[in-house]
Structures are given as C-alpha cells and as structure tokens.
Symmetry: C2
Subunit: 405 residues, 2 copies
C-alpha cells in the first residue's frame, strides 16, 4: 500500500511546528513527510526587529532546519513555491512540481502596502533575514556617509518608522539603543539624529492596555523618538515621506531611511492559487482546513481566525501559528489513520509582551500587567519558549537569550 | 619679549612628528606652538586600506592627538584650513584667522583624478577615516542587498580597484581576505564575486623588484583577483567603469563598487595659497623651506623632493614625511634661537614593505628581499615603528599590531 504523502510549505513557526510534531506522531511506514522552504534555515520573525536595528546579529535569529527535523522521517526540499493547484493536488516549485495527498500551507506573511505610492520602491520592510540585514547595513551606510560629505545632509540621519503597531514599537525600542552606538562609531552628534514614528491610526499599539501604552510612548520619547500619531503617509520618495497635514495640506519629512512596519497580509500565493481569501488570508474551518478542500490545511499568517468575543480576526502571531501547528499535526495524524473526527483549533493566548529594547518592555502575561525589566525578562522567556517548542532544550541552549541581567 | 609663534597645519605623519619633536626641543618660554587639524585625531594613512576593506576597525587606525602632544607647550586647534596668505603671515581657518612667525604646512595629499570623467562622483577613494569606513559600509551594503532582490544583480558583487600601485595592491590584499567573510555573512556564493584591478601603466607596482611583483601578482590572482594591466579607465559611471580596449573600442565593466587608488597629488590649499607647485606639491629648498618664504616649511605629501640618483621625485610616503618632521623640528628650533645655518634634509630609505593581507607581504628591508610571512612580520614592525616615533612605547602598546603568528 502506498504511503500518503504530506507536503508542508514553509518552515516558519507554523510549518516547522507541524513537521516537528508530526514526525513524532507518525511512524516511518505511516506517511511520507516533505518540507519545502525557500531557505535552508528557519528564522525567528519576532526577533527580526533586532537584526534590522543591528542589536542582534542575524545569525542569532536563524537556525538550520536540518537541526530540528528528523531526517529519517522528513525529506527537506529547498525551493520556492510558485503556485498551488489544489484541485490537482499539486504544488509548483521553482525547481519542478510536487504532488501531495495532504498539504499544509504555512507560507507566512507579506508587507501590506495599502497602495501607498513609492512604498515598495523606497521603503524597507522587516520581512526576513535578507531584508533585516539590509536595513541594518543601509542605516549604517547613511551614518558612515554623513561625515564624508562637504555639505552635511542631516536627513541622512533621519529614520522614519511607518507604523506604531507591535513591530514598529519593538523596532523603535532597538533603534534608540543602537543609534548612540552608531553616533560613537561614526563621530556623529546625537542631536543631529531624528527617529520619527508615523502612524495613521489615532493611537500607539491599538488594543494594548492604555497604561502600558503610555509607559512605552513616554520611554521611547525620552530616548528621542518623535511620534506623529494620526498622520497618514501619502507617498514615499527617494528623499523621504510625504504626510497628510490637516485637510488638504501635505508635509515632507526628509529621511535617509524609511522602514515600513505597519502591518502584514497573507502570502500572495494564496490569491494566485484561487483560495477564497481576505488580503491573502483564508478564513479556515475550525479544524484548520481550507473551505472546499478536505486535504489542505492553512495555518499561520495565511490563515484567518475570528475572535468570537469581539467578532474580529486575531492578529497573526507566532504564538497562534505554533498552536495551529500542534493541532494541524494531530489532525494530519488522524486523517492518515483514517479517522474522520478532527480537533477544533482554539487559540490560547497566554500573554503578549512588546519589547522596548534590551532591558525594557511592556506586556500582559497570564492576565497580569508588566513593565520595565520584569516585562523584558518575560520577553526573553517567550523568545526562548518558541525555540523550546520547536527544537527542545538543545536549541534553547544554542540560540536562546540569557542576557537577563 | 614676545615669543615667536609656530603654527603647524596638519596632524598627519609630518605635522605630528614636527610637533612632538619640537615640544621636546624648545622650552615653554622659547616659543608658542600651535597645531591645527581638521579632526581631533591622527590616523595612520598607511593603514587605511585595512579599514576600507573592513579587516581592521577604523578606531584601531586612529588616536587622539591630545594623547601625544604636551598640552603645556602646544595649543591644539580643531579647525579646517581654508587658505594661507604667506606674504601676510596669516592662515585662514573656517573658525577665524591665525597669524604666525613660523609656519609648517603638512596638509597631506588628495586623490589625483587625472581628469577622468565621473571619478569624483562615482568612485570612492581611500583618503581618510571617513572615506575608509564609507567604503567598508558600501561594500557590505552591496553584499547585504544582493539576496533581497528578486532578480539577482551579480555586478553588485564586483569590486573594481583602480590602480595597481602601493595602495591598490595593499587594498586588494585585504579584500581577498575580507570577501570570503562577507560571502559567509550574507549567504553568497564566492564564485559570484569579482575583484578586478585595472591599471593604466603596463605593470603592477612600478619600481618594485620584478621577482617580488611576480610573487604578489600570483598570490592575489590565486585568491581571485583579475588584473587588467595596461588598461586605462576612460570613465566611471553609476554602473561601473568604461575602459579602453584596443585603439578605438571601449568595454564596460559593471561594478557595484569602484575604489580609486591610483595616486595622489598635494593639497589644493597649496595651489590656492599661490606657492609655486607641481600638482599641488612644492619643490622645497634643501632645508625644507618654501622657495621665497624664509619662515614657511612645507613637508610630507605637499612637498616634492628629488631623488638625485634617478632624477625623479621620491614618492610621497609616511617614512619620508616623518623624517622631514624630525628635520623640520630641528630647523625650527634653530631659527627660534636665531641661528641661520639650517640642516639639509636627505631621505634615508630603510625599506619598503607592501602588504598582501594579514599574513603575506613583499618587501625590501635594508636591501634584502622578503616575501610571505617574514615580510608580513616586517610590515607590522614598520607599522609599530611609526607609532613609536610619534607616541613612544605607550602608543605602541595601545595601538600596535601584535598579531604576529
């Protein structure tokens, strides 16, 4: 009898959790498991703001996929997914085609540009290891160039962060620590540097506890961040950004660096493949399968789960993606064994911690408000937990964060 | 009685040697000594190729001027020289004017562009700490950007070095060590990188011993350098360089980085001030004074000394600048004490060592040919000697090169 073939697309939090759990749940003779990923490494998306600012080396935020998969049970293919034909049980890769009996789509997110002109061309986004280290190097190059020019261009030292959501605030937290280092490195007066956070919504960190938001804003402002809240970016140019000012006016903010951190959408492969979607996210069935396809699971940032309490989608997070991966693995094992009853996915939000740099953070953990060093400690616990969930103790020792004091 | 005022312009090898010797030769009551320099630090010009390649941090190639001058005897002014009016005994600084009784012009060199179109706009030059760290960051940014682009641009990974003279070859020696590191850092296939050295003259390191040159060329080629000798750069563009090919044809070499290392001229202030000059270098009198001005010494790269044996100018080097500084200090002391007989300057070339990276070099020291690790060792001795001459043992311990093995 032919073994069923499970193909998992993407080795992010969701995909890798699915594979590492599934390889424990099923025997070698029960199923063929294939993992497809663009790179031969997994990276911690939730740590990319550190690599982007230059406060943590990008090799610290990634690890070899082969270190966490059981190579007797899982075949790893390094390839880029170009399309999915769900009605033919087929995936098109840049290196060829691959058929499946069961598919897990865990292809992650892409930056949401909201149609803002010039954004794709002139703004960086904190998307992956490649883009993170490019941001780090771009900022460093601006600082390195400043003193070489006869006529000093102070705008080289202006960094605009688009978005005061989770990623934007965490990136700002790293930047305020990194900029004084860059100033020393390149003989630059700190007063010349501007860090501007522009947010279209009327608040910082919408949905977060107001007291914690107040703390975060005050801390970042005290370290030099200018907040421009309720301000929409109209256009990004080679010289900076154009923002709306009042009803009809616009204002230019010149900046050598513009980093876009204002939200994500699902992967465009979802749209291309023809799944019913909202901004490339699929409202999956309670068992995480795609409507209309009994053998396709969609998890992580490409899936959309409604929070019934407030009747709004949960924001896509690593926490949810990993929990989905666990359920997805169990449901796959059930299907492989011919069971028809599948488990229902229900997020279990243990807490949320937003870093404000090395030794500062805000968060709610198990319903308790935290700020300052306690929250920063919890952030590291959360980061280490993600490693533990996928790679166990050995991965925590290898890649974990232990700079607690 | 008013003390005579000695003003020294520039804290490079020549200027700083003059000041550190003069402060020992004359008493506080004999003269007022003023040192003017653009930065508050001295940098080792002969080490800049390392900072430019990124093999040595730029803070290792510089030290605080205040650490080597006797602040009881020498007043340090951080300012940029804008002009000299030798007939009025006056120097124009960006921060005001300063008068002198005796002047030492030690303003160093500028890149010689030979009128090549686009060179100033599109090529970097290894001129100072600012430009060196900009080159390092520029190259790193090219490598960091490579993998972020959908369509890979291999030319980002091409580095053109214009000039196979001393600086060009030493820079290549560092690059061949640095590039494999960059490839690892940014997940780049080493085979994609090109390092091209373009030289208009028909040979590498003209004037050097042919056997040593052959060794150097072979070593660099074995590590991936392509030499294009007898090839003139016609133009530098935003995309790379245009070189002459045969009689009428041209060829484009696309390159993300073009570094110009093909020779220097004196400082343009020399021309502006009206001294008789050849490419901003003044053929000084045997006592190092400028023709026509009994109270103006010109030393270092702004001076021109003829090697009588071959009836050609000595190439401007740190070795000669420092020896001039010693003689200049003694001649100043003599003038201050009313003596009319001044010492004649005669270069004493102890040797020349050209580095080929961390552990390789070629050189002639006290008439003996050296190559490989022995030459590399001698190079470090030469580098440490420059520190010792100006700042003594303590400076050698602080900034010296001891990675001998």
């Amino acid at each position: 009898m032919r073994k069923p073939k499970v193909v998992v697309l993407g080795a992010g939090y969701g995909g890798l959790m699915t594979v590492t759990r599934l390889q424990k749940l099923v025997g070698v003779n029960e199923a063929e498991i294939v993992l497809v990923n663009k790179n031969d490494y997994h990276y911690e998306t939730t740590w990319l703001h550190e690599a982007s600012a230059g406060t943590l080396h990008h090799d610290r935020v990634r690890y070899d996929i082969r270190d966490v998969i059981d190579r007797n049970k899982v075949e790893f293919i390094q390839a880029t997914v170009e399309d999915i034909h769900p009605s033919e049980n087929k995936v098109i890769l840049d290196s060829g085609e691959i058929e499946y009996d069961y598919l897990v789509v865990a292809l992650g997110a892409e930056p949401e540009t909201f149609g803002i002109q010039g954004l794709k061309e002139h703004a960086f986004s904190i998307s992956n290891v490649n883009s993170a280290r490019q941001i780090r190097e771009h900022i460093e190059y601006q600082f390195a160039t400043y003193n070489t020019e006869e006529e000093k261009k102070d705008e080289r030292l202006t960094i605009v962060v688009g978005g005061a959501g989770f990623t934007g605030i965490e990136f700002l937290g790293e930047l305020v620590n990194r900029v004084p280092e860059l100033c020393r490195e390149y003989d630059i007066d700190f007063e010349k540097v501007r860090i501007v956070c522009v947010e279209a919504a009327p608040m910082v960190l919408p949905g977060f506890d107001p007291e914690l938001v107040k703390y975060a804003t005050a801390r970042l402002e005290s370290k030099g961040v200018e907040f421009r809240i309720g301000t929409a970016i109209k256009e990004v140019t080679a010289d900076g950004i154009i923002v709306a000012k009042g009803e009809d006016e616009v204002e230019e903010i010149k900046a050598g660096t513009v980093v876009w951190a204002a939200g994500v959408r699902g992967n465009s492969i979802i749209e291309k493949a023809g799944f019913e979607n909202m901004r490339a996210r699929v409202k999956v069935n309670p068992d995480l399968r795609a409507p209309g396809y009994d053998n396709v699971f969609i998890i992580g940032d490409c899936s959309l789960i409604i929070n019934e309490e407030i009747n709004r989608p949960y924001p896509p997070t690593a926490q949810i993606a990993m929990q989905q991966g666990e359920v997805c693995a169990r449901n796959l094992a059930a299907l492989i064994r011919g069971k028809e009853e599948l488990e229902t996915f229900k997020p279990d939000i243990k807490g949320t911690v937003c870093s404000l740099g090395e030794d500062d953070a805000i968060g709610i953990v198990f319903g308790k408000k935290l700020m300052g060093t306690k929250a920063a400690f919890m952030k590291k616990v959360v980061d280490n937990r993600a490693l533990y969930m996928i790679g166990g103790t050995s991965l925590v020792f290898k890649k974990g964060k232990f700079n607690f004091f």
